[in-house]
Amino acid sequence: MTERFTEATGTALIGGTEERASRSLRALSLPVALIGALLALAPLWLGDSRVQMGVAVIGLTFACYAIGFNLIFGSTGQLFLCVGALAGLGGYGGAILADTVGLPIIVSIVVATLVASLVGGLLSWIAVRRSLGVIFTGIITLIFALAFENLLLGLGGVSGGESGFPISSGADSFLRRQIPPYYVMLGLVLVFLLAHGLLRRSHVGWAFRALRDDEVAAELAGVDVARYRVYAALIGAAMLGMAGATYAFTEGRISPTTFGFAQVDVVVLVMLAFGGIGTLFGPILGAITFTALDEVLIELGQLRVLVYGILVIVLFLWIPRGVIPTLQGLLRRRRAS
């Protein structure tokens, strides 16, 4: 069991599993289209309940977060514990730009995404310059996340403080209706999936794999580890910011707890660990599973946290690489025997 963790740690937690990167674009677009089609059907049976659609939208938002985090952590081993904060930069940034500054929604989202992306890239650059290992990168980003949360709480005049920021921009647009936000977020999920998939197949993806598996060897092979780490962070953080901003406009109201560490980072980490760190579809599997699980357990209230605690332990003791890689491993063994 612990041998698996050690092996997994060498690849999954600090890297990811080797998926045979097929060169065919069809091999990527087919499953993505399939997932898109399946998920597009969901409103058919959830569509009546506003609450359930709301949950579904949140689930897709978390899928976006998980894909972004997967890109940063799964591809280049940077433990960014500020997923919520980066999404929050997008969310609050977009809201402030639209409501307070008066920019159009699309522009606000784009600018907020850029801000989040740059901050993510900056954090990565700092970590690289100071040669911070996984643990210290985690601690620094955690500090950033906590500082951001406190900034939101402290600068009440700008951010609305503890009670939140009601967003008036787009209040009467399609974004606030019951079903369209679902398709908007689904669109983001599919775009992010394609982006990640294409990235993997490109030379950038090759560089990511190289530096993840053996940093020293990668440097010797000419891979500028620092640069690719920052690239991953820039793209991943952009995804987080975009998702956060878009979600904010569909929700209409955000507060510090929308993007808090306990509410976002922990959940995303568990989702990704469950699905499979470094895999393409792991984030989706994790997001769907845990959103559904959360709904099923809604009766338990605070006790849900206890269930998640148990799941975290079970997960990291017995399935450290995540469901998808573990299944792949089982299939491989069955094929071999």
Binding site: F5, I135, I139, I140, A147, V266, L303, L317
Partner: protein, 285 residues
Amino acid sequence: MIASVLDGIVLGLQFGLLAAGLTLVYGLGGVLNLAYGQMAVISAMATLFAINAEVPILPAVGIGLAVGVVLGLIFDQTILRPIYRLQGEARVLLSLLLTLGVAFIVDGYLTWRYPTEGLTLRIGGGPIEILGVPMRRGSIVASAITLVALGTLFAFFRGTTLGRAVRSVIEDEEGARLVGIDPQRMLRIILALSGLLAALVAVTQSMVRPVTVSAGFGITVFALIVTVVGGLGSVTGAMLAGIILGIVSSIAASSIGTFLSLIILLGAAAVTILIRPSGLLGVRE
């Protein structure tokens, strides 16, 4: 200004003692215990339940401290077993994740079962004047106890064979084994000690402000920040960092409000990590 500094020292001593527990476990065993805050909360609750059951204050506190020690030992025997089989970074990461899971289990249960409970130890009597500033009696008593505890810790580590044996494992584990010291046994002792320290901080904190059931994660975060700034593995570092960060935090809070002062604290921690990742007096990287 003096009032802020004194408040900062009171706070800082608590930070230091709290971080000492966390840093010792990391320095000795390479294990990061993210359920540390929950250990403190459980001990506080034990004391609370004892008091509610008509047990007089001192024995009730004793029960709380004993619970802390037991929690440390339970940790060693259960959740840390799979972690001990790993080394280095893998060990730290797994310990981080598993203890996080435990933290969730405890936090989830306690906040669901006892959402409004909190331990408060009221220390009777009026304020005591220090340097012309009236300080609450509870703060003074808490600080006095913390100072005694820290003093005892130092005496233990410098003056006793067992204490030196523990330090030697932090210095060089293989060297310690070569002179006949069992690192696992030392770690067990340190875990019990860290549980005791968590309990002690919870109890003394409750003399200043209520320690609620949901305080767990906040305690862990503070302990972690002070630990990292002071240097993982160094008790002196933790104390130093605690006092500095306590004073910084207190002065900032009185000028710009709690949230923003927390940012200053976090910023100070980040700056220290970036300039000197091993912390003020760190051992392990």
